[in-house]
C-alpha cells in the first residue's frame, strides 16, 4: 500500500516537473509572439498615420522635421551598403579560412585557429565601433588620399569593413562544418582520378557543401543587417540614399538607436516610427534566417 502511494506521488511529481519544463521551453514561442505583437501593434499605429505606400516609395526620411516624411529607402540603402561591404570582406576571407581549415590544415592547427577566431565573434560591438571610428577610418583616409578620395570621418565603408571582420568567424566556422560534413569517400574518389588537393576542394567538396556554405553566408549577412553599434558609432546618422560606401549614411538599426538616445517620446509618431523601422528589420532578418535554415536542412539531408 505504502509503495503504491509513493509511486502515485512520484507520478504526480513527475507530471508537475514535465509541465514546468514544458512551460520553460514554450517561453521561446511566447517571446517570439511578444516581439511580433509589440512590433506589429506599434507599426500598425504608425501605418494608421503614414501610408504604407509612402513608407516604401518615398526617398526621404525626415521624421523629426516639421513636415516629416517617412520613406524607409534611405535607411535601407544604408543598411544594404554597409552589409555589401561587410560581405565583400567576410565572404572571401571566411571561405578561404574555411576551405583552408577543412581541407589543408592539420587537426592541430584547426583546433588552435577555430577557437581563436571565435574570440573575434565575442568582442563587444561597441568596441568594434570604436575600432572602426579610430583605427580603420584614419587608416582608410591615409590609404585613399593618394587616389583623390576624401573619406569623411563617418562613413559606411569602415563600418562595413569592421562588420565584415566581425562576421568572419560566423561564416568560416559554419562553412567549415559544412565542408567537413562532405564524406571522405568523395575526396578519395577525386584524388584517385588524379585531382590535386585544391582541385578536389574546389570542384568536389565545395560544390557538395554549397548549400551549407550559402546558409553560413546568409546567417552572416543577417548578423550584419541587424548590427547596431558599429554603424551607430562609425557610419554617421544622415538618412540619405547612399550610392557609394565612402559616404556617410544611417542604417535602419542606427536610426532606432538614435531616436532611443534622446528621451523617447512615448506615444508619438516618432516613437511609432522606430517600430516601423524595426518591423522592416525584423522581416529582413527573419527571411534571411528562414532561407538559411532551409538550406542547412538541405545539406544535412544530402549526406
Amino acid at each position: 500500500m505504502n509503495r503504491d502511494f509513493t509511486t502515485k506521488r512520484l507520478r504526480l511529481g513527475e507530471r508537475a516537473i514535465e509541465l514546468v519544463l514544458f512551460v520553460a521551453a514554450a517561453s521561446a514561442i511566447a517571446i517570439i509572439g511578444g516581439i511580433l505583437y509589440v512590433v506589429l501593434s506599434e507599426a500598425i499605429k504608425f501605418f494608421g498615420q503614414v501610408s504604407f505606400l509612402e513608407f516604401v516609395t518615398s526617398t526621404v526620411w525626415t521624421p523629426t522635421f516639421d513636415n516629416p516624411s517617412y520613406g524607409i529607402a534611405p535607411l535601407l540603402s544604408g543598411t544594404f551598403m554597409s552589409t555589401i561591404v561587410a560581405l565583400a570582406v567576410a565572404v572571401p576571407l571566411g571561405l578561404l579560412v574555411a576551405v583552408y581549415l577543412s581541407e589543408f590544415a592539420s587537426s592541430h592547427i584547426r583546433e588552435l585557429v577555430k577557437p581563436t577566431l571565435e574570440l573575434l565573434a565575442g568582442v563587444p560591438t561597441v568596441v568594434y565601433g570604436y575600432f572602426a571610428l579610430l583605427f580603420i577610418t584614419p587608416l582608410l583616409q591615409r590609404l585613399l588620399a593618394p587616389f583623390g578620395i576624401e573619406l569623411p570621418g563617418f562613413n559606411l565603408l569602415s563600418a562595413g569593413i569592421v562588420m565584415g571582420l566581425m562576421i568572419i568567424p560566423t561564416i568560416a566556422s559554419l562553412s567549415e562544418d559544412a565542408l567537413r560534413a562532405v564524406p571522405r569517400s568523395m575526396r578519395e574518389g577525386s584524388a584517385a582520378l588524379g585531382a590535386t588537393r585544391l582541385e578536389t576542394a574546389l570542384r568536389v567538396v565545395f560544390p557538395a557543401a554549397v548549400s551549407g556554405v550559402a546558409s553560413a553566408v546568409i546567417l552572416g549577412m543577417s548578423r550584419a543587417v541587424g548590427e547596431t553599434m558599429i554603424v551607430a558609432i562609425a557610419a554617421g546618422q544622415q538618412p540619405v540614399i547612399v550610392t557609394s560606401p565612402t559616404q556617410q549614411g544611417a542604417t535602419v538599426t542606427a536610426f532606432i538607436a538614435q531616436v532611443a538616445l534622446g528621451d523617447i517620446p512615448f506615444g508619438t509618431l516618432e516613437y511609432s516610427s522606430i517600430f516601423a523601422a524595426g518591423l522592416a528589420l525584423l522581416v529582413l532578418t527573419l527571411v534571411f534566417n528562414l532561407v538559411a535554415f532551409a538550406l542547412q536542412r538541405r545539406f544535412r539531408e544530402a549526406y
Binding site: 514544458f22 521561446a28 577566431l117 583605427f135 582541385e199 538599426t253 522606430i274 534566417n289
Partner: protein
C-alpha cells in the same frame, strides 16, 4: 621516365601541367593562412589600438570614480557595478529557463507540432537582431508592465536575448550524455526526472556551464537593447546602495540630452536621485528623482540621506528597481563625444570590457576543450 621509353604507356609520368596545378594548391594554402591571420591580426590591432589610446588612463582611480563632465576625473565605477548587477539579474532569469527548456527539448519533448514550433521559435530567436529585443523591452517591460528603465528591465531583456544560446548549448550537452546512463538509472527504478536530475544533468553540467558563460559574455558586451530601454549615460550613484550614500555626495544632474551637468551655468536639469540642491546662497532646496529644476549658477546637488540611511533602507532586491548604466553604454557615450580626452577614457573602458569578454570566452573555450579531452565514454 626518360624520353626514349614508350611515352604513351608510362602511367607513372607526371601529367603535363602538374607542377602548375600543385603550385596553385600551395599558393592557396598561402592565401588561406593570410586570411586566417587577417582575422587574428584584427584582434591584435584592436587590442593594441585600445591600449595605445587608453592604457595610461586605466588606473585604480578610473575604476573607483563616477562619470564626470571632466574627463580627467571621470571613471567607470557606476558602470562596472551596473554591469555586474545587470548580469546577476540576467543570469537568475536566463539560466533556469534556458536549462529547463533545453532539457525538455532533449529529454522529454514528444515529436509533435508543438515541439517543432518551439524549435523553430528558438532558432529564429537566435537570429533576431539585438536591437529588436530593445523594442520588445520598451513596448512590453517599460510601457505595458511599467517596470521602468531599471536593472530588472535590463536583466529581463538580456535574458531573453541569451536564452537561445543557453537552450542550444544545454541541448548539445544533454545530447552528449550516452543513452546507457539513462537506461541504467531507469533499470534500477529511477523515474525519468530522477534519472535526468541525478545522472544526465550532472554529466552535462560542464557543457551547460560553457553555454552559460558564453551567454553571459554576450550580455556584458551588449549595448543596443539597453540604449532602447534607456540605460543612462551619467549615473553618479551605486544602485547597490540607496541613493544618498554619503560617500558619494554628488547626486548628479543631467541636461535634456542626458549629458552630465555640473550646474555651474544656469540651466534646466533633471535630477537623477532624491537629494538636496545647495543654492549659491547656501540655502537648501530638496529635490526628488526625475524632477526637472532650473539651477542657477553655482548651485550644487547633494544627496539628502546619510550612509546610515542607506544601510537601513537596504533590501536584498531594491537594486532591481534602480536606474543604471553599464560599461558598453558608458563607452558608447564617451566615444560619441568630440573631445579627445573622452576618447581616451572610452578606450580605457573598452580595455576593461574587452578583457572581461575575452576572459569569459577563453574560459568557455578552455572548458569545452577540457571536456572533449577528459571524457571518454
Amino acid at each position: 621516365m626518360s624520353a626514349d621509353a614508350a611515352p604513351g604507356l608510362d602511367i607513372a609520368a607526371h601529367p603535363p601541367g602538374l607542377k602548375l596545378r600543385k603550385f596553385k594548391g600551395a599558393s592557396f594554402v598561402f592565401w588561406g593562412i593570410v586570411a586566417t591571420f587577417v582575422g587574428l591580426g584584427t584582434l591584435v590591432a584592436l587590442v593594441s589600438q585600445l591600449v595605445h589610446d587608453g592604457g595610461h588612463r586605466l588606473t585604480l582611480d578610473f575604476l573607483g570614480s563616477f562619470p564626470s563632465t571632466d574627463p580627467a576625473e571621470a571613471g567607470i565605477l557606476s558602470a562596472w557595478v551596473g554591469s555586474i548587477l545587470v548580469i546577476i539579474a540576467t543570469a537568475f532569469i536566463a539560466v533556469p529557463i534556458g536549462v529547463l527548456a533545453g532539457t525538455y527539448l532533449e529529454e522529454y519533448a514528444p515529436k509533435n507540432v508543438i515541439t517543432s514550433a518551439i524549435e523553430i521559435a528558438v532558432n529564429n530567436l537566435a537570429g533576431v537582431p539585438s536591437i529588436i529585443f530593445g523594442l520588445l523591452a520598451v513596448g512590453l517591460f517599460v510601457q505595458a508592465f511599467n517596470l521602468g528603465q531599471t536593472i530588472l528591465t535590463a536583466g529581463l531583456t538580456l535574458s531573453l536575448l541569451i536564452l537561445p544560446v543557453v537552450i542550444v548549448t544545454t541541448r548539445e550537452a544533454v545530447r552528449g550524455v550516452p543513452q546507457e546512463m539513462r537506461q541504467a538509472a531507469l533499470a534500477i527504478g529511477a523515474t525519468k526526472w530522477q534519472a535526468t536530475q541525478d545522472h544526465v544533468l550532472p554529466y552535462a553540467l560542464p557543457g551547460i556551464v560553457t553555454g552559460i558563460i558564453i551567454g553571459m559574455s554576450r550580455a556584458i558586451g551588449e549595448t543596443a537593447p539597453l540604449i532602447l530601454i534607456g540605460g543612462l549615460t551619467f549615473v553618479a550613484f551605486l544602485p547597490i546602495t540607496r541613493p544618498g550614500d554619503s560617500k558619494f555626495e554628488v547626486i548628479g544632474a543631467v541636461d535634456e540630452y542626458g549629458a552630465p551637468v555640473t550646474p555651474e551655468a544656469s540651466e534646466s536639469v533633471r535630477i537623477a536621485q532624491d537629494g538636496v540642491v545647495v543654492l549659491p546662497d547656501f540655502s537648501e532646496m530638496p529635490v526628488k528623482a526625475g524632477q526637472v529644476v532650473d539651477l542657477p549658477h553655482g548651485a550644487s546637488v547633494q544627496s539628502s540621506a546619510t550612509w546610515g540611511d542607506a544601510v537601513q533602507s537596504w533590501t536584498p532586491t531594491h537594486w532591481l528597481g534602480s536606474e543604471f548604466t553599464v560599461m558598453p553604454i558608458q563607452m558608447f557615450n564617451w566615444t560619441s563625444r568630440p573631445q579627445a580626452e573622452f576618447l581616451e577614457i572610452a578606450a580605457a573602458a573598452g580595455i576593461v570590457l574587452l578583457a572581461i569578454t575575452l576572459l569569459l570566452n577563453g574560459l568557455a573555450i578552455w572548458l569545452r576543450y577540457r571536456l572533449r579531452k577528459n571524457i571518454n565514454w
